[in-house]
């Protein structure tokens, strides 16, 4: 297909956003609703004031219609994120463990459900910015270890991986090609050696 290079090498951030919307999240409905069968997922029976887990995209629609309140996930508050941030600073060779979709979820909740968050949105926003920057710096450092066979960066989220994926893939490919040239010759040498041996024999 005639896709631009960017589409071929990695996901778009918007696509990752879309994937993240499928995560389950707890809501507190304000009205009762019967269950609705949708393609691929079902909206369960909603009873007012009783918590329920539904996919994020449904929760955002209901929230826009003022029909529910979103309960923020346990990791989306200043205390938890600050602890993670301190961890990052403490261990310069490791990434602290954050949920797989932390960037996308936090962004969506901050824009669309900021009144449901436990802490003030601007504080959360600033700590998320800090976290992202620290991890970016660390990943840059980690890429210095790039070799043709193996790279391990634990605890990166999907968005962060996606950002460095095209670059890393290209470099590793090239390194592999270069090293392959040498290896091939080794094997070829071995073949000729065998041949010679055969002849001698």
């Amino acid at each position: 297909m005639a896709l631009p290079l960017q589409f071929k090498t990695s996901f778009l951030p918007l696509e990752i956003n879309f994937l993240a919307e499928n995560e389950l999240i707890t809501i507190l409905p304000r009205v009762s609703m019967k269950s609705v069968e949708l393609i691929g997922t079902n909206l369960p029976n909603l009873n007012a004031m009783r918590r329920q887990e539904i996919p994020l995209w449904l929760a955002l629609i209901l929230k826009a219609q003022d029909k529910c309140q979103i309960i923020p996930p346990i990791w989306l508050n200043v205390a938890y994120l600050k602890a993670r941030y301190d961890e990052e600073l403490e261990f310069p060779n490791r990434f602290s463990s954050l949920p797989w979709h932390w960037l996308e979820l936090s962004k969506m909740l901050l824009t669309k459900a900021s009144d449901d968050l436990t802490d003030a949105p601007h504080l959360i926003r600033s700590i998320i910015q800090d976290l992202r920057e620290v991890r970016l710096v660390k990943s840059r450092k980690g890429l210095k270890e790039l070799n043709e066979a193996y790279l391990q960066l634990d605890n990166l989220s999907l968005m962060e991986i996606n950002e460095i994926r095209p670059y890393v893939a290209e470099v590793m490919d090239e390194l592999k090609k270069l090293s392959d040239c040498v290896k091939k010759d080794d094997s070829m040498d071995m073949e000729t050696n065998d041949y010679e041996e055969d002849e001698n024999y």
Binding site: P13, E148, V171, L178
Partner: protein, 180 residues
């Protein structure tokens, strides 16, 4: 070798390499400027890689051991360049040495396994690619003096790498700051 349709590969193949003829070939005098004359043995010529690599392997006839020509060690892989790379990989102007350095390196090393060259070049790639990634994350830096110089010194593969890197960082940043 496996990328028959790859444009970069085709362009890289077109790179001329110096070679020495081992036999006299009638009728090829025009390559040297003497039209109608035969091409004598031991003449040095620059021929494109796709031609010279085949002729270097192909024997003249069924029985003989001599090939049509021998490839001479080109200057972009000689010791001077290797030492320069070893000294300062990041600042070396790769584009002016050879626009398709990496590709050609691969092809050369397939024929003549030059382990030392491969090592040096791999190391160079790692260092330069880091630098490229750094510039990719801060696209404004590339317009500074140092950045400009670096940009012009990249060979074709590295340029592609730079483009990929900037694009992906740009998309990420845009999404992150978009307030929709």
């Amino acid at each position: 070798m496996g990328n028959y349709y790859d444009l970069d590969d085709i362009i890289a193949d077109n790179q001329k390499l110096p070679c020495k003829f081992n036999v006299t070939v009638p009728g090829l005098g025009y390559l040297e400027g003497n039209i109608g004359q035969p091409l004598d043995a031991n003449t040095k010529l620059n021929l494109p890689l796709w031609l010279s690599s085949v002729l270097a392997i192909c024997e003249v006839s069924q029985d003989s051991q001599t090939t049509f020509l021998d490839l001479i060690h080109p200057e972009f892989f000689n010791n001077k360049v290797i030492n320069a790379i070893r000294a300062n990989a990041v600042n070396i102007d790769l584009h002016s040495i050879l626009p398709n350095y990496y590709k050609l390196c691969e092809k050369w090393c397939v024929m003549f396994s030059d382990v030392e060259l491969i090592e040096v070049v791999s190391q160079m790639l790692k260092e330069r690619s880091n630098e490229i990634n750094d510039y990719g994350q801060n696209p404004k830096q590339i317009s500074s003096m140092a950045g400009n110089k670096f940009l012009y010194s990249l060979d074709e593969f590295e340029k592609r790498l730079y483009k990929i890197s900037t694009e992906s960082h740009k998309l990420s940043k845009e999404w992150f700051h978009n307030q929709d």
